[in-house]
């Protein structure tokens, strides 16, 4: 396809959509599906058919609309109204002349002028809940693949990297490594064979940011990967996606097929010599396979275990070739950066953390679901304004970010801006975007034990500190909770934190102590109170 053809397709699809009197968007992402969204969509489709409204109205499934706690969600295009807790029985009203006047629906209408909506800024999720992820035409109508066209037709690879550098984009997979720097490292490597890998292993408990992006807007990720391929000189890309994400896998497969058919992936992209293929690689769902060297081993068909770095993947990755590995959300940011310019992106957020970040809100919070906010938004705004605070008037105690590699942030730091540096300063990390809220009823020792159990079970077993250390730490934490531990045990726990952090082979073991360290730092009393009195009083042995 040429650039002109792309623009024609966009115009044609927009025209087609405008000719409809209404498009009824049903969220068919995992959260809503689990509470009956498929039935709603089918009922609406049946209603359109039985009233012979085909051609004037259509129903389409979309990615997550964000307010998962009120699913199934449905939006009508003509008036932009959003409804929650929709049932199949509402189908007739949804296709009626004025759905908003229906008494049942009126009750379920969601006010979109609340902070939950207005305090968010959607870049990565801009299309999520807006396009039908199974139709490439929807993505093209929303301006899709124009960034790739621009890159291939108007820019040199070096200019693409310069644009990404200007944006200040940093990796969303957890560590926040500058994306342009990584691209440059790969681009500068000699050799004709290079790879681009999208890390969609997302294994943190409670995290579903990447999954939502893949399910809700798969083409955006493919486009980001293709742009990366052009910039670094790779012809082959892989999406490494965990096997449990069946819907994401289906949507990606369909998206790749459609993009290949439209010649947006494959050979002679935009009539240029640039070619780029994308294939899926399905992971078996081990958390450690998200670590980049383990991921490489897994794609190569070996046991998914980390290895020593250096060499880093940009130098020696898949089959020893220079390999660019980025997270799903990182790639998803690329098309808007190229279309709007790096400077536009750099103006959002709080330098040196630019742009937005997607979070999955969970735990003791009213609005559980998926949100996207500018970097630097305060934790208070996220938890109280957007998240709606603790349900039932409960009292906020701590927020956990970064999953098993992160830490717990107590109430005194609610005004901390959420960006890479600020979170690290208070003993947590941004991580991939899980955010769990805890209230006064949560035991912080139990939270630490929970994450340690996760690390123990997910430890690959290669290196001793992590393999045997997480088991010992879990044992000590369990005994503390049972009031069977001594002060010596607590000291050993702290000693093990240092050992794992300094000697483990990969990030899993190195960061496994973080939940313990941060809860010890801010909630040490809870640990002390669980030590039998005679021990904590004198600090001696019996």
């Amino acid at each position: 396809m040429t650039f002109e053809e792309l623009m024609e397709q966009q115009a044609r699809e927009l025209e087609r959509q405008r000719a409809l009197s209404r498009r009824i968007y049903c969220c068919t992402a995992a959260g809503c599906v689990s509470c009956g969204a498929e039935a709603v969509r089918k009922a609406v489709a049946a209603e359109i058919k039985s009233r012979e409204l085909d051609g004037t109205m259509e129903v389409c499934g979309t990615g997550c609309m964000g307010l998962c706690s009120q699913g199934p969600l449905v939006r009508t295009s003509d008036d932009g109204a959003l409804y929650g807790n929709v049932e199949a029985a509402d189908a007739a009203a949804l296709v009626s002349a004025a759905p908003a006047d229906d008494p049942r629906l009126a009750q379920r209408r969601i006010d979109t002028s609340t902070p939950f909506f207005v305090k968010q800024k959607k870049i990565v999720l801009a299309n999520s809940g807006v396009v039908d992820p199974e139709r490439i035409a929807d993505y093209i109508a929303a301006g899709g693949y124009q960034a790739l066209a621009k890159a291939v037709a108007e820019m040199t690879p070096r200019e693409v990297i310069a644009e990404v550098r200007a944006s200040g984009l940093r990796g969303r997979g957890g560590a926040g490594y500058p994306t342009a720097l990584k691209w440059e490292l790969v681009a500068k490597q000699p050799g004709a064979t290079k790879y681009v890998v999208c890390n969609a292993d997302e294994g943190d408990p409670g995290a579903f940011m990447d999954r939502s992006v893949l399910e809700g807007d798969p083409h955006r990720v493919l486009e980001g990967m293709a742009i990366a391929g052009y910039a670094v000189g790779a012809q082959q890309g892989y999406v490494y996606v965990r096997g449990e994400y069946t819907l994401a896998i289906q949507r990606l497969q369909a998206a790749i097929r459609q993009a290949e058919r439209e010649r947006l992936l494959g050979s002679r992209i935009f009539e240029d010599t640039f070619q780029f293929r994308v294939d899926l690689r399905i992971g078996a769902g081990a958390f450690v396979c998200g670590e980049e060297t383990a991921l490489i081993a897994s794609i190569e068909g070996r046991r998914g275990q980390p290895r020593q770095r250096p060499p880093y993947p940009p130098e020696s990755g898949l089959w020893g070739k220079p390999t660019l590995i980025n997270n799903v959300e990182t790639f998803a940011n690329i098309p808007p950066i190229l279309v709007n310019g790096g400077e536009w992106f750099a103006g959002i957020g709080s330098a040196p953390s630019t742009g937005t970040k997607v979070f999955a809100l969970a735990g003791k919070i009213v609005n559980t679901g998926l949100i996207e906010v500018p970097m630097g938004t305060s934790l208070r705004e996220i938890v109280f304004d957007i998240g709606g605070g603790v349900p039932g008037g409960g009292e906020f105690k701590a927020a956990q970010t970064g999953g098993p590699s992160g830490g717990c942030i107590p109430a005194e730091f609610l005004d901390t801006p959420v960006d890479f540096e600020s979170l690290a300063r208070i003993g947590s990390i941004m991580g991939s975007g899980g955010l769990i809220v805890m209230d006064k009823t949560s035991s912080m020792v139990d939270v630490a034990r929970y994450f340690m159990e996760f690390c123990m079970e997910e430890s690959c077993g290669k290196c001793i500190p992590c393999r045997a250390g997480t088991a010992q730490m879990h044992d000590i934490l369990t005994r503390i909770l049972k009031r069977e531990a001594t002060r010596a045990d607590l000291e050993m726990l702290e000693r093990l934190c240092v050992l794992l952090g300094e000697t483990s082979l990969c990030g899993l073991g190195q960061t496994a102590p973080n939940p313990v360290l941060s809860t010890l730092k801010y909630f040490r009393r809870e640990y002390e109170e669980l030590l039998p009195a005679e021990h904590s009083a004198a600090g001696g042995e019996r």
């Binding site: 081990a286 450690v288 046991r303 290895r307 020593q308 123990m456 079970e457 997910e458 430890s459 690959c460 077993g461 290669k462 290196c463 001793i464 500190p465 393999r467 045997a468 250390g469 997480t470 088991a471 010992q472 044992d475 010596a488 050993m492 000693r495 093990l496 050992l499 300094e502 000697t503 483990s504 082979l505």
Partner: protein
């Protein structure tokens, strides 16, 4: 071949480009502790006992996997490193069953030797004592998972030197096991050539020759160096 000059524990030494800190240190009489490394096999950096401090680097580096660089200043036995090594050994001793008094390797076990050398006189951690299997199905050798420290020396020697790839790691975390072929009894393995290399490289009593009783088992570690050197020099007669 280019030569690198560096300082290890205050001593000015030289090494060839690409040589590891570990090898250069040992050649110069600085014996960095190790369990997973064995000369002649690939290195995996699993035991973390060889970690050293390199001036100017925040992170500790595994000596067995880090090539020497010009001007490096390396410390191999600071108090911090010794503390870490002791605790790593304690973790190992507590992970499975290392009651030396009843082990065939008593007196010649690398784990035991290292513990003595580093002054691990008692274990401050809870012994976990999982009840794991002992496989005596092979006519000449036995395998006791309770004594295994998962160093994967056996896996590597079987694959890289014998070429049989009989052994592999199964499972993950502390529950990992060294299995034969697809996990069946060793004695029924189709691929094992009964060469005994795995038994010789195993640092503990996890792999042993049958018919040895407590403290009788001794291993010939020289053989590996011999084979590998012979291959390099193309001399095949011992």
């Amino acid at each position: 071949m280019s030569v690198k000059t560096l300082v290890i524990d205050g001593k000015a030494v030289t090494g060839r480009a690409g040589e590891t800190i570990f090898n250069v240190a040992w050649e110069n009489g600085v014996r960095i502790p190790r369990l997973c490394h064995v000369g002649g096999l690939s290195d995996v950096g699993a035991c973390r006992l060889c970690l050293v401090e390199i001036e100017g680097q925040r992170k500790l580096a595994a000596a067995c996997l880090t090539p020497v660089e010009e001007g490096m200043v390396v410390h191999t036995s600071s108090e911090r490193l010794k503390e870490h090594r002791r605790l790593i050994l304690e973790l190992l001793l507590a992970e499975r069953n290392h009651v030396c008094a009843v082990c065939v390797m008593n007196g010649a076990c690398e784990l035991q030797d290292l513990a003595a050398e580093l002054g691990v006189d008692h274990v401050r951690l809870r012994y976990r004592f999982p009840k794991l299997g002992v496989d005596t199905s092979h006519e000449r050798f036995g395998q006791d998972q309770n004594r295994c420290i998962l160093c994967t020396r056996c896996v590597r020697v079987c694959d890289e030197v014998e070429g049989a790839h009989t052994k592999d790691v199964f499972g993950r975390g502390s529950g990992s096991l060294i299995i034969n072929d697809m996990g069946g009894p060793w004695g029924e393995s189709d691929t094992c050539t009964s060469c005994g290399k795995c038994v010789q490289v195993c640092p503990t009593g996890a792999l042993f020759s049958k018919g040895k009783s407590v403290a009788e088992m001794r291993k010939d570690r020289g053989f590996l160096k011999y084979i590998v050197t012979a291959r390099e020099k193309r001399e095949w007669i011992r």
